[in-house]
Amino acid sequence: MRFTIFQDSKVGDRQGNEDRVGYSYSRDVLLMTIADGMGGHDMGEVAAEIAVGEITSRFQQEARNRLQRPFDFLVSAIQSAHRAIVSYADQRNMFECPRTTCVACVVQGGRAFWAHAGDSRLYLIRRGEVVAKTQDHSKVQQMIDAGRLTSEAAAKHPDRNKIYSCLGGVVAPQIDLGRDIRLEPGDTILLSTDGFWTQIPPNIIGTMLVRQPITQLLPGLITEAQRRAQGESDNVSVVAMTWENQEDDNVSDTRAMDEEQFATSTNTTQPLDPDGLPADEVTDDDIERAIAEIQNAIRKVPR
């Protein structure tokens, strides 16, 4: 695979950064994840941290060569991240469970697969146009869909931060799947949190991407997003990938990597320690791992 990747996360004008971004890739498959945590007392940070950490580690367990069923993987990894957040709160008898949005995208075999819950976004930009995007699980998006609100008015609506699907909530997240899309050279997939997309309209990104590669364009756009918020900037995070001409020797090819090797980068702070659990306890992670193992075995043995 030949692609260019960029990610960054800025705290904006907030006290702490509750956004987490990450990517991980091997020879044949790439994962990008973004999560925007919610909840007081740094708890949003924990939820976003668990989400990106869990999905990335599940990815590395299951994508040894390539993912058998990318959409199944996305749904199951997001669900398991949800459960990990809930059990984190359970173990600590937390009154309120931390919550987070999540978008995860897999690129494999020249195709893109994504899934999301909440109002962090994914855009697929082709020749300057947004050709596919996620639909926010937000109250304002519902009102727009119902024709009761314009996109312009939504940006100022008092309920613009209300979302109805997230990880860590009382109800399991509603997870929407993107189409399985074949990538063309020059296509850019951009994942961002609302700190970015509320400030930078997608058509601007599209227009500018025609002239500049993501590595040059996005640092400036992230700064611009913070500036436009006029001292009230939310955390601003982006992870983006441009699918390159697969014959272009100027771009490095992941096929040069060793098998089963992963290059990973995230802004997660550390693996969370599941403190207080007796060694023999079966955790949610153990359960997910066991199931993944069994499903792998089922697929491997010819039937």
Binding site: E281, V282, A290, I291, E293, I294, Q295, I298, V301, R303
Partner: protein, 316 residues
């Protein structure tokens, strides 16, 4: 069938794309349902649901309220995973096939191939008079094919009994219920004490010294199952036999004529000293094949339907 404190899933409930039709059976740790996928293909779905804990009094979600129950629930789940792992590794016509494994309703589900037929236990209760020597030899010879595959995968079944052997409509024996199965090379798995069924579990099984358990332990259970086919009742329990062996000689219980050779095969499997048993499924299979299988000419309906396809279906 142990009483279930729990509500089964309602008919018509759609579980991960499978529509539940009805419960087929209910055991100590699970309920098995008949279900169909979207294409209408039938499957047997096993739901992990320990019967001793009230986990689902209404609805479909499994709710573990009690702290102590939670760790028990999760411990049992480990065994359920062992079963899933064990079956996932095997693909053999004489071993039930697992097709899918997933989590839902706060518990786990194992989707297995649905085999039309009845358990050997059912036939022992209804049709034992039709268990001729030829029939018994054939069924167990083919069952040993499946068990060889199990052992070749470093697994022990550890709960072989008539209720866990299925006879398909065509007469193919299928080994079911790997809930006690253990991966012998995994120390973790051997730490989990397997359950046992009195009468069918080998004496060493009760002591639970992992080093003593081996394919020979399954051979004991196979012997006890053959004994039950002939006698109609299982032999004295293995742990009691170690104290005082009062096993009733098979000859005195048989309702029809069997060869001395068959009696001695069953007896050798049922040796209290595991060193004296056939050590592997292959050993037993050879013993069962040595005596030429007598042609059964009695016009019994049950065997008539079984004997012809048996030879066809079991040759691989």
């Amino acid at each position: 069938m142990p009483a279930q404190a729990n509500q089964p899933l309602p008919a018509g409930y759609v579980l991960n794309g499978y529509r539940i039709e009805k419960p087929l059976s209910s055991g100590g740790f699970s309920i098995v349902y008949l279900a169909r996928d979207e294409a209408g293909t039938p499957f047997a779905i096993k739901e992990y649901l320990p019967s001793t804990m009230p986990l689902r009094t209404e609805g479909v979600e499994v709710l573990v309220t009690d702290e102590g129950n939670l760790s028990l629930f999760r411990h049992g789940l480990k065994c359920f995973f062992e079963e899933g792992r064990a079956l996932a590794m095997i693909s053999h016509p004489n071993v039930v096939r697992v097709e899918n494994f997933f989590r839902a309703n706060e518990t786990c589900y194992m989707v297995m191939q649905y085999v039309r037929g009845r358990t050997l236990q059912f036939h022992i209760q209804r049709n034992r008079h039709e268990f001729t020597e030829g029939f018994i030899r054939k069924v167990f010879m083919y069952l040993m094919n499946g068990l060889r595959e199990v052992h070749a995968n470093k697994l022990l079944h550890l709960d072989i009994k008539p209720a866990n052997i299925f006879l398909s409509m065509e007469g193919r024996p299928v080994l079911l219920d790997f809930g006690a199965a253990r991966i012998t090379l995994s120390e973790e798995a051997m730490k989990l004490k397997p359950m046992y069924t009195a009468g069918f579990a080998a004496p060493e099984h009760y002591r639970f010294k992992p080093g003593e358990l081996g394919p020979w332990s399954d051979m004991y259970s196979v012997g006890a199952t053959m004994y039950t086919c002939i006698a109609g009742t299982p032999p004295q329990a293995g742990d009691q036999r170690e104290q005082k062996d009062r096993i009733i000689p098979l000859r005195t219980l048989a309702r029809q004529q069997y060869s001395e050779n068959l009696y001695s095969i069953v007896e050798s499997c049922l040796e209290v000293d595991y060193m004296k048993r056939p050590q592997t499924a292959f050993d037993l299979q050879k013993l069962l094949m040595e005596e030429p299988v007598a042609e059964d000419r009695s016009p019994s309906g049950f065997l008539e339907t079984l004997s012809t396809p048996l030879s066809k279906l079991f040759s691989r």
